[in-house]
Amino acid sequence: MTTTTRKTSHFFNLQDTLFKYFLIACSVLVVALLIAIFYFLYQDALPAISYNGWNILTGMTWNTNLGVFGALPVILGTLATGGIATLIAIPLSLAIAIFYTEYTPHRFRLPLRVFIDLLAAVPSIVYGFWALQVLLPIAKINVMLPLVTYLGFIPIFSGPAEGASIFLAIIILTIMVIPIITAISIEILAKTPIALKEGMTSLGATKWETVRHVGLPFARLGIFAGVILGLGRALGETMAVTLIIGNTFNWPFHSVSLFSTGDTVTSWITNEFPEAVGLDAASLFELALILLIITLAVNLIARTIINRVSKGRFS
């Protein structure tokens, strides 16, 4: 055994303490940065907050010349596109998750999992660009125009359908939300206690029956958290939506149609910001602050649920 210099434990305590406080400093810095985000947004939004009052949330017109900054259409745009996309994504994600946990042979699991994760990894600008160049023309001719022709009497399917639309935004957001919900659902479903699954199997249950009566009830809460997380993502998405939503204030007050052009908070800010000055810019910051609060609230709800679930409480 080699002899080591015996430093006094006092010295080690000093090193340990220094390291510990260094780590704490880093962590505190992270918290400070988060607070700074709020602070700086708030600072820049300040002039607009008092000026706009509630109008920012309830007003339906945004007119820089008249000094009117009402963002209701884009807020509704964000909520609708995000909400509908998430709703559509739920059954689709569950189907994939169930397929993965129950029906996929073990050697195909890794490839499938990688595919799902790659879906989540595609940069949103590429999604947007592809949606604009490829999906839009195809959807316009094969889906939107026919629907307008045959179902156009129903307000939400009425024309004109230019291509860029709320509808397209919903589709692309659905694709982006699915991998999030799927990943969490898989993780949670995989945690179903084997004893319970075997109980079901021993009664002669099919795989679907087992999932339905034991797996899903168990995973219910965790899946809900995943849905909320997916919703948060959809609400904050910018680039994929900006390119294909049309960037107008049309929806929903000018036209309720899903095929009309519209806007979300994020794409609105993206388009207005470059030229915005004064109160216009401040109002945009105010909008950003509102979006930040909403997405953080959504995220925190999801994380709280996940924490409860991973501690073993399933209801």
Partner: protein
Amino acid sequence: MRLLSRKHTEILVKILCIVVTIVVISPLLWIIGKVIYTGLPAWNWNFFTTIIGPPESSTSGIGPAIEGTFIMNGIACLFGIPLGIFTGIYLAEYAHDSIFASVIRTAVESMAGVPSLIMGLFAAALIVENLNRNQPTALAGSFALGLMIIPLVARATEESMRVVSNDIREAAIALGIPKWRRTLQIVVGIASGGIISGALLAFARISGETAPLLFTAYFNDFWPTGVNQAMASLQVYIYNNALQPYSAAIANAWGAALLLILIVLGINIIVRIFIRPKYQEGF
């Protein structure tokens, strides 16, 4: 009254699940296929080395955008990864169930949920506006990207360190190794695979983020000559070209998208197939 026998229900469910899976995966393959098919023709030596010219020109390249992306990613990693790792170490090894620890954890999780556009606006407000007299700067862009890296790396670090078995820590204690060394050299050493995976995935993630760069680094047709200036990036390049009416611009955008996808998906595939499975508890 059953509509279908139990066996048939099972078969139906299985088929439905397969169909849905195929339907959902196909956009991925479609996008990759289209990007390769349309983007590859744009690739030539000129493409990678020339400066960005007017949109209608077919001889312009994306050289500055490539360099810009790597420069800004690099700076972002420089401060984002260490901060993320140290925060992750704190949460894994030093945080006890105190209010302080949960505040830190909440902050890290919240940061992960901040939309990238907001990060960009924050960096614009903090740096471009307040510190840089409203001049575009790649530093602000890097800053925004770095902020996005922090929670991703922190999470990966914490998770990787948590799975290191306590036996190892106890063995180190028994040998009289001080905590800081124990943590840094031994536990981090074992967790390094997970940490590196997390860092790589974070790098891939920010390579695809456009919104943080829009109002910070803006864009620049020319090769970067310093970091305190507007800088091109692949992401913003694609965005700028996407709405142009010129076919040359669109063709070049596809070429850029191909490069971007190669980097992003390439890293993801390598990490998820080759590195991760060794460190993850089974799927």
